[in-house]
């Protein structure tokens, strides 16, 4: 028996509708760009293809909306791709994330980059990859999705082809990414060799039965997979690409890497480790906990030293990964929900930060922290939003950062990892220091000029939505948590279901 579904040829293609929409839309954007007219005038900024960005955002939102159709379903495409609440949550989340990235790109791309059609098409394709990572129910599909996401991002990271930093960052990202993929693939082959399956549930099944001896090959495979996924989410010591890629990539792409790539990595990490490797939790728990400590420590301590805002955010995002890894180390239904909740809060907040930085960059072309001196006087709304977002990242109450961090830390404390929660609390105190540096510069610094900046209404609209999200999650996380809990419940339920199936003769 090769592949049970293949013999029947009755795939439920409609389950992949959101992905078809994204791919089709991406193709349409490329064609549209082609027939729009010459791009020769783009560099001068007069002939803009700004609406392409809004169209791309509309496509991403459309895919997100269509995926809502499967709320509450437990379907599976060809035994490869789950369509359940977990998938739906991430489809919506990734779609909206990409939509914000596209909106934030519109003016930036018009002013600075060539070939906008391909740019937006690649963003939409990266969402297809990210969706696949969250939806995959077996390793090879997960791997292919991961590569689709990664390759889209490699190209996007070096999209500013006249900028050396962009080229360097993109190249480093791609070379290291390729090796980490190879490592991940090697890990897959070892796990397949030991367990005889690439399906998450089947692997979990085999591992559950076998508690006697720990197979060295299995452990090696596990370690290699942690390395591969650790690269994707930028956990220390697999984080080296992050600062260069962040600094070099065009700003909206930096936002996309920090939001989409990281959360897709965690979506897969969480699903894989819940469905396949949960039985071995005692073998990897303390290792992940150690990774988590190293990641928080390095990210937060090095961030203090940064002068460039993008590099600072790169290290601060590494620090945030440290907190998120706690959720894996303390893997339980509660901590999985807490992890996803914190990730959503983090992504929303981080997008708000990036939208602010992109607006500021569009005004001034600057991105050093000291360039933000006196922003409060020149753009009070921007300064307010950026401060709220930064205070949220630092974990101040009222904002998303506090509520989601508290829920995450308490879920770790509940799994006897109170010491880890304590370390995390300490490092979030450290993080306040460098976030304050930016706030201080904006409010307390002397502006270079006193003129007000023009108001970018559309970007401010997107920013207001994001900040409203930050406040909402901070003040009343319940609805978001309920949605998250519904979705993570399905991956834990899958673990139990497969147990029930295997008991049948």
């Amino acid at each position: 028996m090769l592949w049970p579904a293949m013999t029947q040829l009755n795939f439920q293609w409609e389950l992949l509708a959101p992905e078809f929409i994204l791919v089709g839309w991406a193709g349409a954007l490329v064609l549209l760009d082609l027939f729009w007219g010459s791009s020769a005038g783009l560099r001068t900024g007069r002939i803009g293809k700004e609406p392409l960005g809004y169209l791309a955002a509309a496509g991403a939102v459309a895919a997100a909306l269509v995926s809502l159709f499967w709320i509450g379903d437990h379907k599976n495409f060809a035994d490869l791709i789950d369509v359940n609440n977990y998938t739906t949550l991430f489809r919506v989340f990734f779609g909206l994330t990409a939509a914000f990235a596209c909106i934030a790109s519109a003016r930036y791309v018009k002013d600075r980059l060539l070939h906008p059609g391909e740019y937006y098409a690649l963003i939409l394709l990266s969402v297809v990859g990210a969706n696949g990572m969250a939806a995959a129910s077996e390793l090879l599909t997960a791997y292919i999705s991961l590569e689709l996401l990664s390759f889209s991002l490699y190209v996007l990271a070096s999209y500013d082809k006249f900028d050396l930093r962009s080229n360097e960052g993109g190249l480093k990202y791609m070379l290291l990414g390729a090796f980490s993929s190879a490592i991940f693939l090697y890990g897959i082959s070892l796990v397949y060799g030991v367990t005889g399956s690439t399906h998450f549930n089947a692997i979990g099944e085999v591992l559950k039965g076998d508690t006697s001896d720990i197979d060295m090959a299995l452990l090696l495979g596990l370690a290699l997979m942690i390395g591969g996924l650790g690269f994707k989410v930028a956990a220390v010591p697999f984080h080296m690409w992050t600062p260069d890629a962040y600094e070099g990539a065009p700003l909206p792409i930096t936002a996309l890497i920090s939001a989409l790539s990281k959360s897709a990595g965690f979506a897969l990490f969480l699903k894989l480790f819940t469905q396949a490797f949960l039985p071995l939790i005692d073998d990897w728990r303390y290792f992940i906990a150690a990774l988590s400590v190293a990641t928080m420590a390095l990210g937060n301590l090095v961030a203090i030293q940064q002068q460039n805002l993008k590099r600072l955010l790169a290290y601060s995002s590494i620090g945030q990964v440290g907190y998120l890894l706690m959720g894996i180390a303390a893997l339980s239904p509660e901590s999985a929900s807490a992890l996803v909740l914190h990730m959503i809060g983090y992504v929303v907040t981080n997008l708000a930060v990036f939208v602010c930085i992109i607006i500021y960059y569009n005004w001034t072309g600057k991105e050093e922290i000291k360039d933000y001196a006196g922003t409060a006087e020149r753009a009070p709304f921007l300064a307010l939003c950026l401060s709220i977002a930064l205070f949220s990242l630092a974990g101040m109450p009222l904002f998303a950062g506090f509520a989601t961090k508290f829920i995450l830390f308490q879920s770790a404390a509940q799994e006897d990892l109170l010491w880890l929660a304590g370390v995390a609390v300490f490092f979030s105190f450290v993080s306040l220091y460098y976030y304050l540096l930016i706030v201080k510069e904006m409010y307390l610094g002397e502006p270079a000029e006193r003129t007000r900046f023009p108001t970018p209404w559309l970007e401010y609209g997107a920013l207001s939505l994001l900040v409203a999200g930050v406040m909402f999650v901070g003040l009343y996380p319940q609805p978001v948590y309920d949605a998250v809990e519904d979705s993570t419940a399905t991956i834990f339920a899958a673990v139990e279901d497969s147990a029930a199936v295997s008991e049948r003769p």
Binding site: F179, A223, P237, D282, D283, V302, F391, M396, G422
Partner: protein
Amino acid sequence: MPDIREGFVWAIMLLPLGSFAVISLLALLGLTRPPRGGGAPVWNARFSGHLTIMAVFAAFLLALWSLETVIANDNARVGFGAHEWVTVGLLHVDIGITLDGLSAIMLVVVTGVSLLVQFYSQEYMRGDEGYNRYYAFMSLFTASMLGLVLASSVLQLFVFWELVGLCSYLLIGFWFHRDAARRAATKAFLVTRFGDLGFLIAILLIWSQTGTLSIAGIQEVALTGAVSSGVITWFALGVFAGAAGKSAQFPLHVWLPDAMEGPTPVSALIHAATMVAAGVYLVARFFPVFASSEEAITTVAAIGSITAIIAALLGIVATDMKRVMAYSTISQLGYMMMGLGVGGLVSAIFHLFTHAFFKSLLFLGAGSVNHATGTFDMRRMGGLRKYMPVTFATVLVASLALVGVFPFAGFWSKDEIMADAWDDRKWVFFVALAGVFLTGLYVGRMLILTFGGEYRGGEATEHGERHGEPHESPPVMLLPLLLLAVMAALAGFANINDDFSHLLEGSVPERAHALLTEGHFRLWIAFASVAAGLSGLAVAWAVYGLKVVQPESVRNFAQPLPEILENKYYLDALYEDVIVKRGLLGGAAILLSLWDRYVIDGTVNGVARVAGWTSAQLRLAQAGQAQLYATVVFLGVVGAIAGILVVNPP
């Protein structure tokens, strides 16, 4: 009067919050901005002041109603239901209101002092370009403190606790064009938040051990001994770390003297009713928990004692009038912690109550002096008794209350603390007595330098107006001074019938009553403390007034003590230079940064370079690069395998 309803209690907090929201909204819409180029604000600029005062006044009336309700309720806790906020897995967070003697007293103090400060600020901040911003932040500050006092769950309390810290950051850095103000604001925020680390960890600890976040629930757990005493001790110490940060206890007291950089009315509010009072309130709120752990309560007593003495010593050498008062606040907070440390919940809160009046009076008096002379440097004052009789008289009342001279307010509350100390831990009593002498000394010095002798100069005020002769402040500023002076003189009689004690005892669970120390009034203690205070004043009079000995020669005689004091025990240097700059920034971060930049990037880049060279030579670029890049990533994977093997020896 009928019992207050829950909605009205919430309104106590929501009224100032609403005033913050309205002012912010109007400011965002650009409706309250003073005209460009300075000058008197347009008519609607004063609206924010009026709105804040009205909101706080309404809150004050509601606070009185709450107090009345608690008294009518036989001093017992008024039961209001809890409202579910979030349920997340096993974590269940309710929000609600704690209304009992303790919170009712705090409500009255906070709203009362805040009301007078807001009223006074109308004149003090007149013409400042940040007038609206000032009132917006002050409203938020008051609202956060009220929210903190009312919270029924420790998480709810923590949220407001952090908000209080955030507001203090905004207000201390209010005049942000001054470098000192910026530094002070950041320092205050970071130092207090360092203490909050302990608090947050304590919350996580107690939640993971008991599964409750409600304050009443935690008290219950501590009293019944449902969890191990180790957990209770660690929880109490964590909470105390938070309290020590906010209430400026040694060794986290360093932010408070610098916080002077904010506008003076802000200092009055910080020092009397909000912020620093929060720490004492927190320890008092968790008193049953502290009292169940011998280690924790001893720590409170010891830290309180150390703080009371070291801060009083610093007060003797400071030359800035507001700094003297800041050290005096730290020292008095030490007294409150001492009181709590000897089981004197009643005496500590009573001292907080009386202290709120005389300390805010002292600050507002200092503001009045600054309004007249343009300086806080006492070396440039002198002789102000003649020019500012009302300010002098009110500050004198406050000073006598601070030293604890009969029958002013401070006498009664300090005496209760000392009585409790005598009955519980005698060493605390002697520390307290020494502290009273030192208090007399620095207060006497401050009074003589400021109001005695001849006028010695002055300079431009905090916000830039120039003055010739010092003059008495306008009535808008004097009225709050006079009202506070009446309270500073008479507030001590509030507990003459033990009404105050009964009110507070009702806020402690029945089972914990045995943990309270009932200090008995002893005439000799009263005499001893008054004598200590008066002798402190007398020494100050002899040195600075009569000049029996020259202050210089005393200074020389006592070396190196004065030098240590003038350098504030070198603590600032220790924290800023050694720990933060060299330790955290200099050491760890640079090391890691270098590691990241040179070792990892360097390996990659250097490897690329070597490989590039090799490729030119051998045309094996791809192979060379690939292997070496992979090495870097593989290092981590090898670590992963090693790590897993350590956990699982084969």
